[in-house]
Assembly symmetry: C3
Homo-oligomer: 473 residues x 3
């Protein structure tokens, strides 16, 4: 039967498993489904909008660069080489993208029940107009369809951006970046709003693989010779000002733990010099990073930029994969994260600042109700980022609301953040998040916690206003 | 439209988000909704019943002393001074209570989805007869109504107590307290049952700010000179006997962690003397507190008083707020809590005692299924207190039952404890708890886990019998 | 009314609390309810099948050996002696099994809402044909009925095994075991498939109470004199080969923590000699156990046996009970477990091996979404065992799926494992697990996450195929 393999997308998907709930959730969803997308944090490459070339083929777009996808395939015994993931030593990997796509299709059932599965289903259906389910048999047919779709001008990056109704998209950039693509976009006749975010990890982490050359680069770009700690700070301040002039409104900090400590300038200088002399130890790097978080908070109070902390990922946990393929290959593993003790020095000093917006994220869900909600429900400077990474999912988002709302309320959270490299998935991610928030609110309405008019206000805040406000957009 | 701002209170609120569940839960709720309230642990000031004066105005009653309320307002940038919270240095704070109320009303939306929001909604409606929703516009009108209501004799403390159908209310008192208000109540012609609970933290914690003057006070009150450890223990025993004679049936212990250790008398004496000489260190205080928990358990086995441990709060975490405003100002933050290793010495010695009832609380929900339920499902002496503080909420209470019941059952829990300073909120808190238990049981009935007659028995036990039994009331 | 005490068993029990969900779940359940049972890990004594004698009386079968049952009774003040639990010193315990059964019946309400309650209800009803609810009044009547049922040949162990439709049952055995019962079963004319699993804890844990005599036994059984580390390893390899020849396809490792470390042969030899000389310390044992996990993984890569790790239980936590009654008496308490740091050496070395199947279990549910799902969603060698022990329950299994599926998918889990000593409870345990999976999948279907045909495939995989595949059966 030809109907059997039809790709269906229920209109009321993710709005709840019972009719009553879906009905109320659906009413809320109608209000927000077409609101513009605020994308205040993510990893899309600005180059694609500067150049506005068509996206490459389906495998290059959806599999090879997406660690959510190849991580799962790898976990079931498929070599990354067979998926075309480039090796650091430029060793042989699969070049036939149709073969890669076929492997993906053969194992597509692995994504059942996962956010990747939900995103792809929606993306295939809505972005690329696919009407068949992906499986071994339909693989090549669907490949052809996506390949063809990508060549149409309506699917060029800028056209997609406009079609997706994105109001603003923030990229993530090092202070050592020239923002050349951002400049090009701003100077073009296209009015898509793409802004940078300031992420200094590669210069604040003394053991960043590339640290010294990044410091040199920072000296060149800022025009300030970073041969001592004081100049290093000046260069960072300088670059913040430059980023701000380019539209930047936020910084981001990826750290092992949210450890903070305030060093004297002398002590900081000593660590900085050790690093310049290639003598920094792991402990030195931890301490210096903790100190730099304090410095960044200080600068944020000054320049008003929103500060994000993304802690708790053990990066490149699998040395076999890291050595062969490099970073961001699906082997970053979350660890237990302590916010209360680690953040104390920073909160003692800056937590009561009204001019600071400090957004915390976590991969350790046990901290939602124990630490994060109580902290955010007290400190004027603190806000909670949405459920992150592995937890940016149907169940994960519900858990976030359930564990956080009662202590921190809705207004100490900052709305949805797509946090993705995968540009074509952006609308489906926002859509999923809006649906889950609708469902959560519907439950509260049906259970007598909220009146419907309150829920209607909240859903607009969660879908649009809070991100705009907290990222000062 | 005048109807738009009507304050509604669904009869079946909090009984579930679908009709089937609400129906069964409603049937259970009918059984317990009018049962008397057992209030075995809380922080109501006995003075209000001794004096039986009218409550002060709405701001003084509902905002200024309630850290649940001003914590949330503070988190959104409102100064505590503007909310009339008294400063330790007697510095200027807002004196116009109508202005304070207006700020509160302007930001009342912050409490959407929070227990405070649920309690206040119900309290406004049922206790004070308010029929409008609180917002910027209705603020003064509602202020007037509550102010007028508070002047009526039916809303005086004793009348409220009677109206609330409270069978017994326990306060929380230091062994250095004379229980003068309790005496006055007992000697009055009013028959409301108000009893003390024995909470010795201010003398067992060697670093309690006021420790030495509390020790002096203990000497005076007990008639036993607390100049050595042995006498200190005697004085504590003496005061337990006095409290018991005043109706006390329980003790309470607020500790950083549930760490326990048994010291020799010599070692305990040494620490006690160090403290008398102002030389006790943080470690000394931790060890002494751990030892005193053991001593308190020993005394509890002897005198049969129920013992409660409330661990895991990092008190006065925000030094800026603590220095300006003192303790209990919404900046106590939960921390990871280990029960298994910390309680071992105490459980080794007293866990198998049938004459001991030791009730554990937690702010670290990850311990529910991992540590607390397995412990309570084994030790004769152990019982689990209900979800506490931040987790005393609609979702929090559900999580407690879901994580605890399967391993510890219903009968190793102790029913609801309101644990509040806010006297007028007591019935709404019990009501919320009863509703959530009804909902949980309805789910079990509908899912074939329990028969309806079993659920009917259990709901009475959870709402009334278990608290009475475990607190020996 | 005679109908009042009827034991009912809803056909759609555990399939959800609302009608919509139950309907879809019921449709899925129909597909799998009669599938054969795969029992790849458990603690049933093979002797019962070798001898095929009738089971003893109800108390001997259902109470005295079941720590789930007497743990709960003990927690409410009932002495283990009164329940007939044998004392290590052979001291007096209740011998009248009818008295024991009566106590159990008097307190049967304690099991409301617990998995034990759910299992027993179903077991009474389906396995023993009981039609009354158990309580003080019906106790002796039900005792009589079960006693009579146990004498019928249809309830002899082999007949039950056949009737239960068990395809394969794995026991758990020490490498020092002769597998004499397995041999007898294999040599019999009965075709029930009962295979051993290799669990070397009593020889790999240097502080196992009986360690040295177990080592001697290993020498005798393997024919390899275990007087040095190298021979010890050879003997273990030898016994693996022997177990494999007897049908064994898996090993199991019960450890305090999943700590792993690779020692040089010299360092391992040193620890082994210390232990032979009765000088091994706690730290020595921890390190040696961590090293032996590495060795076991190495052997597993070689011989293809599936390796299970069950960490995180603080065994014999209550010394009073342990000294009086020995191990496995309901006083093992879960502790916080760190997989990410502890397993790193093992995963660095063997995590990328496609020939290894390493199944992880946990008692610390906070690790599901934080550590276990991300690890299993990346490493080819890793799979997640189902919710274990305290969490092998209606809510516990739902939590497992909710926390794990979105990151690890369904196909990095291994289906249900009954893990029980209580043979007659095996079908009811599988039935509960299948029902919960049906319910979870029904929710996903109703919420638009899965198509019904996908759910139908998945439920068969979860109920049957995944266990078979991952245990190489």
């Amino acid at each position: 039967m030809p109907g059997e393999n039809l790709l269906k997308l229920n209109d009321d998907r993710y709005l709840g498993a019972n009719t009553e709930e879906r009905k109320v959730a659906g009413e809320l969803y109608e209000i927000v489904k077409d609101l513009p997308l605020i994308c205040p944090h993510g990893h899309v490459d600005p180059k694609i909008f500067a150049e506005n070339k068509p996206f490459p083929d389906p495998a290059e777009l959806l599999i090879i660069p997406d660690h959510y996808v190849f991580r799962m395939l790898y976990s079931q015994g498929i070599d990354l080489e067979a998926l075309g993931v480039p090796r650091s030593d430029r060793g042989k990997t699969e070049k036939d993208h149709r073969k890669i796509w076929q492997i993906f299709a053969d194992h597509y059932y692995l994504f059942r029940g996962t956010p990747t599965g939900m995103w792809l289903r929606h993306e295939f259906h809505d972005v690329f107009g696919i009407k068949q389910r992906l499986n071994s048999k339909s693989a090549m047919d669907i490949y052809d369809q996506i390949e063809a779709a990508l060549q149409k001008s309506e699917n060029y990056p800028r056209a997609m951006f406009d079609r997706f109704n994105i109001e603003v998209l923030s990229t993530t950039d090092s202070p050592t970046d020239t923002l050349i693509h951002h400049k090009k976009i701003q100077e073009s006749d296209w009015d898509g709003k793409i802004i940078p975010a300031y992420r200094p990890d590669n210069v604040t982490n003394l053991l960043f693989p590339d640290w010294k050359s990044q410091i040199n680069r920072l000296s060149v770009i800022s025009g300030i010779e970073c041969n001592n700690y004081q100049n290093f700070i000046k260069a960072l301040e300088n670059q913040r000002a430059f980023f701000k002039s380019m539209g930047c409104t936020s910084t981001d900090h990826g750290v092992n733990s949210p450890y903070t400590i305030e060093l004297s300038s002398g002590a900081a200088e000593k660590l900085f010099q050790k690093a310049l002399n290639n003598k920094a130890t792991t402990d030195d790097a931890i301490i210096f990073t903790g100190h730099m978080l304090m410095e960044m908070a200080r600068m944020a109070v000054d320049d008003g930029m929103t500060m994000q902390i993304h802690p708790g990922s053990y990066r490149n946990y699998n040395p076999v994969v890291f050595e062969k393929f490099g970073a961001d290959k699906g082997c970053d593993i979350p660890v237990t994260t302590d916010y209360v003790n680690n953040l104390k020095p920073m909160l003692d000093k800056f937590g009561n600042e009204k001019n600071l917006t400090l957004i915390l994220f976590t991969l350790d869900e046990s901290t939602y109700s124990r630490e994060l909600a109580p902290l955010a429900g007290h400190y004027p400077a603190l806000r909670l980022g949405p459920s992150w990474w592995f937890h940016d999912s149907r169940e994960g988002m519900l858990r976030f609301r359930r564990h956080v709302t009662e202590t921190a309320g809705f207004y100490n959270t900052v709305g949805f953040i797509d946090d993705t490299r995968a540009f074509p998935s952006i609308p489906v991610r926002h859509d999923l998040a809006r649906r889950i928030d609708c469902r959560y609110l519907a439950e509260l309405v049906l259970d007598g916690v909220l009146d419907m008019d309150e829920a209607k206000e909240i859903i607009v805040d969660l879908s649009y206003n809070l991100a705009k406000k907290n990222f000062k957009l």
